[in-house]
């Protein structure tokens, strides 16, 4: 009982940290994607005429 009790306590801590870490990874990836997107849109906004031709 005690060994199983300890194992499940470990699973509980692991699950809590995994969920938070996964969310932090999702946040970091989303942040990087948004930064890339912002740079691209800034480029388009500064020279709209060049990009209008391509459209």
């Amino acid at each position: 009982m005690d060994a199983r009790n300890f194992t499940f306590m470990f699973y509980g801590f692991l699950a809590a940290w995994l969920i938070v870490m996964l969310y932090v990874i999702v946040l970091a990836r989303r942040g990087a994607r948004l930064k890339k997107e912002l740079d691209a849109v800034k480029k388009i906004a500064s020279h709209p005429e060049q990009h209008a031709d391509r459209r």
Partner: protein, 229 residues
């Protein structure tokens, strides 16, 4: 400035968590009836409380959006709901693991557990709905309405252990019982861990809010570029 604040809060949360883990494993003894597994509750309950506080702060911003039509409030509400949902997930998963040992089952459809699951489903639906609606005004209005609706369930989650007879244990925290149900040594570590998780939540909300601001900037630049072209 906001980045520095987020980093500072995350660092404070990490330091506090390290201290709390030391207290949990090296200082506090096993609980007489539950053994080692009771330590899960140091994360299970604070995660639920931080999630619930978050939903109510999001409710406040949703009401502010509906009264002012300022999109900043809508972004804040969405950021807070997303982070709160993560803590609600931590709550329900850790609770299930604890229940497997103490009750012998992973899950039961009692009032507390079911209303907590419904809460997660409502706010998950909130985030899915935001992705599905492109028009910002309609998205913000419907999101605010759903957030207000979801918070009714949050009240049921909070009060269910007082209102109904449940498989889930009744209130044990001093501010709900008037004291005497939790050893002061456990209570001290519990509140320190609540503070650590709260700080972590605020840091995540700050990062998420910045991303919402960037997304808004992208939207406005796109519109500007489109008009200029």
């Amino acid at each position: 400035m906001r980045d520095k604040l987020a980093i500072g809060l995350a660092a404070a949360a990490s330091a506090l968590l390290a201290n709390n883990l030391y207290q949990m494993f090296m200082v506090l003894p096993d609980e007489a009836l539950q053994g080692a597994i009771y330590r899960i509750l140091f994360f299970h309950a604070p995660a639920a409380m931080v999630g619930m506080i978050g939903y109510f702060v999001a409710l406040t911003f949703s009401v502010l959006y509906l009264s002012s039509k300022n999109f900043l409030y809508d972004s804040l509400a969405a950021s807070i709901v997303e982070v709160s949902l993560v803590f609600s997930l931590v709550n329900i998963v850790t609770g299930s693991i604890w229940a497997r040992i103490i009750w012998g089952i992973w899950w039961t459809w009692d009032y507390r557990l079911t209303s907590a699951l419904v809460c997660i489903l409502i706010f998950f639906g909130y985030l899915v709905m935001r992705r599905a609606i492109d028009e910002p005004t309609q998205r913000a209005r419907l999101s605010s309405a759903l957030c207000i609706f979801g918070c009714v369930d949050v009240v049921i989650v909070w009060k269910s252990i007082e209102w109904f007879r449940n498989q889930h244990p009744g209130p044990v925290l001093d501010f709900r019982t008037g004291g005497g149900k939790m050893d002061p040594a456990y209570s001290h570590v519990f509140w320190l861990n609540f503070l650590a998780i709260l700080l972590m939540g605020v840091a995540l909300v700050l990062i998420r809010t910045r991303q919402e601001a960037t997304a808004r900037e992208i939207d406005s630049l796109r519109r500007l570029a489109h008009t200029a072209a």
